[in-house]
Symmetry: C2
Subunit: 236 residues, 2 copies
Amino acid sequence: MSFQQLSRTEHLPKRIAEEIGRGIAGGRFASGDKLPTEHILAQTFGVSRSVVREAIAQLRNEGMVETRQGVGAFVTDPQRRATIRVEQASLADPVSLRNFFQLRLPLEIEAARLAARHRTPTEIAALDEALDGMVKARDWLDEGVKADLAFHRALAAATQNEFYAIFLGYIAEKTSTSINTSFPREMGAEIVKVTIGEHAAIHGAVVAGDAPRAGEAMRQHLINSAARLGITLETS
Amino acid sequence: MSFQQLSRTEHLPKRIAEEIGRGIAGGRFASGDKLPTEHILAQTFGVSRSVVREAIAQLRNEGMVETRQGVGAFVTDPQRRATIRVEQASLADPVSLRNFFQLRLPLEIEAARLAARHRTPTEIAALDEALDGMVKARDWLDEGVKADLAFHRALAAATQNEFYAIFLGYIAEKTSTSINTSFPREMGAEIVKVTIGEHAAIHGAVVAGDAPRAGEAMRQHLINSAARLGITLETS
DNA sequence: CGATACAAGGTTATCAGACAACCCTACAAG
DNA sequence: CTTGTAGGGTTGTCTGATAACCTTGTATCG
């Protein structure tokens, strides 16, 4: 038995921000255009200026508009967004998920290589623990997935490159969530064993400091896990 | 003669958001902790509640906190941020810039390979135009840089993978801005010519549909342009 | 004794109005 | 032609109040 997630008309500013955002994305406001004044927007939407201000603040955070005191709010050049945001919903589409995997592939491979070169005892311990967590996991969909994520995060940390940690952490998280919500599947004991084996191969190469082998093991792991979802990746 | 860019005490809410954000990142607030009430925060920082609210709204947008009406604001699990944001200021440090380049490297290489396989006439035209823009640019620091960005954006688009466009567009933009603001340099005619030549090599391989050669040309280009900044990249 | 209903207090969400800071324009003064 | 100044408009911030909501404790009733 499952209940509907009812949406109880949440967060006025967010809805207005989306409304204005659609106006921008839909081309009703061109790059450089000045938005109506907060006063007029408040009147238009029938809310107070506070709400409009919060909505505009959100758009500003996302880099879609810039405000100048005493002048107004202007639509930013869409190519210079301040943040990267991938909507979870957009990954529900199998083609998009495949594309996302295709993006992740070279990053993870390079991360594995760098990790093999730069790992320290701290990160080796984290990798050990994550692998151990996979082995001991009673329920793969819960504990196993968590350990999987922890493994990839520890690997990203081992590169000693903060940006790999940020980007891969985000990408791995999105991927995992997307799979669990949009493409849930039971993992048989056999498949779990294979998955763990792939991680163990990466682990071994990284600990040994063998960069090429770590990269290759990671490539295989990603291609295989994609294949388990029915996704075929391009390899080069 | 050049003047300092003075910072005119900008945007109260932003500064407070950063302050609270540091508190979270620095571990003063653990995951799940409840932040002080808006009233108390306003008192603490010596500003009005409006400002605090806007600051919290920003943190909520970035996924660092969640608010519940009538209860309070809580620190979100730091591992599931909703967005990726790289502070421009953090790229002023040469080491960080190097790390950022190191992240960009495998992505651009793979993008070049994918572009060679999937480019369509539309994107070839865009690449042509960007290359032409570099050749004709009178001032490299302005028109040249723009054409450079356009080239890399067109390449990302040619992968037919929306995520490469999003991520590489963001990364290339950040890199370019960072170089121009933190490490400005005059580019002699010789260097410009070499740079254009590297792009032409990529262009040629992509148009020819030669994926391995496109990837290799991109690798060389990135390694060389990093070297021109005094940055040495790890290659694998 | 246990479960439900209700009241009280605290917190965020929204509203309303005001003033401050700032920018742009136009016009006057030199 | 350049500089100074006044005016109006817009965003930034402040203050106070009300609504919506959640939590907790207490009272009521079986």
